[in-house]
Amino acid sequence: MPLNIDIQQILLHMLNFVILFAVLYFVLYKPVKKFMDKRDEDFNEKNDRANRTMEEADSAKSAYEEKLSGIEDEIKSLREDARKKGVEEADAIREQARREADEILEDARRKAEQAKTAAVRSADNQIRALAEQAAEKLVIESTAQAYENFIETVNRPAPEEEENGE
């Protein structure tokens, strides 16, 4: 054959390459490729999981923020309610206090009136008693004075006796 081409040697070369190809394919290429594919799958799975977790976190965050803004509104309305309630309660307390103060004042006024009346009455009685006493005393004193004057007059010696006695 020209160029020293030999069919037998070509076939021998082919046989050599077929064996080499089979060994390299099954012993080296496939296991390494399988390992790489599995690792890629794992990475993709982890990546997907991370993305899913990220999405979940984002949605949770937005829901939380939404809820937070709702809570702020709720807090605002609650605060408003509480303020209104507080104002109403304060008004009620103030009203109650005023009513109680009025009652106390009324009571005090009534008691003072009663005390004044009682005092006036007592003073009248006392004055009356004093006047009675004074009148009685005056009567008694005038009577007694007159008796004593009488007694004294009676008991007083005559002026001649006084001179004799000296």
């Binding site: 020293n4 030999d6 070509i10 070369h13 082919m14 390459f17 390299l24 394919y25 080296l28 490729k33």
Partner: protein
Amino acid sequence: MSRKRKLVSAGIFAVLIVLLIAGIILTGNPGAEKEPIKEVMRDAVLHGTGKVSLFGLIDVNPGLISAYAVSGALIVFAVLVRIFAVPRFKPAPGKFQYVLEKCVGLFSSLAEGNSPHRPGFIGGYIFAAGVYIFASTIFELFGVQAVTTSGGSISLPAPLADINGAIAMGFFSYGVILFGGLICSGPKGMLKALKDFSLPLSMSFRLFGALLSGALVTELVYYYALTSYVLPVVVGVLFTLLHALIQAYVLTMLVSIFYGESTEPSHKKEKRKKQ
């Protein structure tokens, strides 16, 4: 290093170089005297005289012995890697695992890019072909010696520098494309591959020519004593490395492209609905 030691080292090197030059001169220039350059070149291409016995059965070109040596080494390497390295692979690869994954990934992505319909098989095929072409071309650099049938010694060439090796590789690759098309897309796929009937010849002779040119240039450089110093480092090593990379890439690329074409599913033309 002291001055004295430097002088001693330089002296040793100088003596060694002088001895080597003397040896080269004394042994003569066998190529120039015994065999003319034409004969050397012709023998490098055709291997008419430098046959090697294959297990004492038949006389073959030294390229076939190189092919078996390379395949043996690759098979041992693959088995060792499968037994000791692959089970210890980690998700974060080490240096060796990284290189291996890069190699597999390179051919796998080449197959997926050029033959997206059936990338599994062709990925493995071009991996094996690429590794074989690269390793067998690099093999030339080791200068492994073999004994010829005439009793002389011969430096084993790259297996694909042997025309039989290149033809085997080219035709086998064409067969893969042809039968891949037949299996995946039926007779239409096979016909697509048959249209490119010149493909096996072009692939074979491209490989053969590229690798042989490197071998011839190296032979030429080594033939003359004057050019056989320093220059072979550049010519031999760099040419061989470049050939190894370029040829591995070219053949695997071509095979994956043509395989992709032949295995492409045929799209049936949609019939226009009658209105």
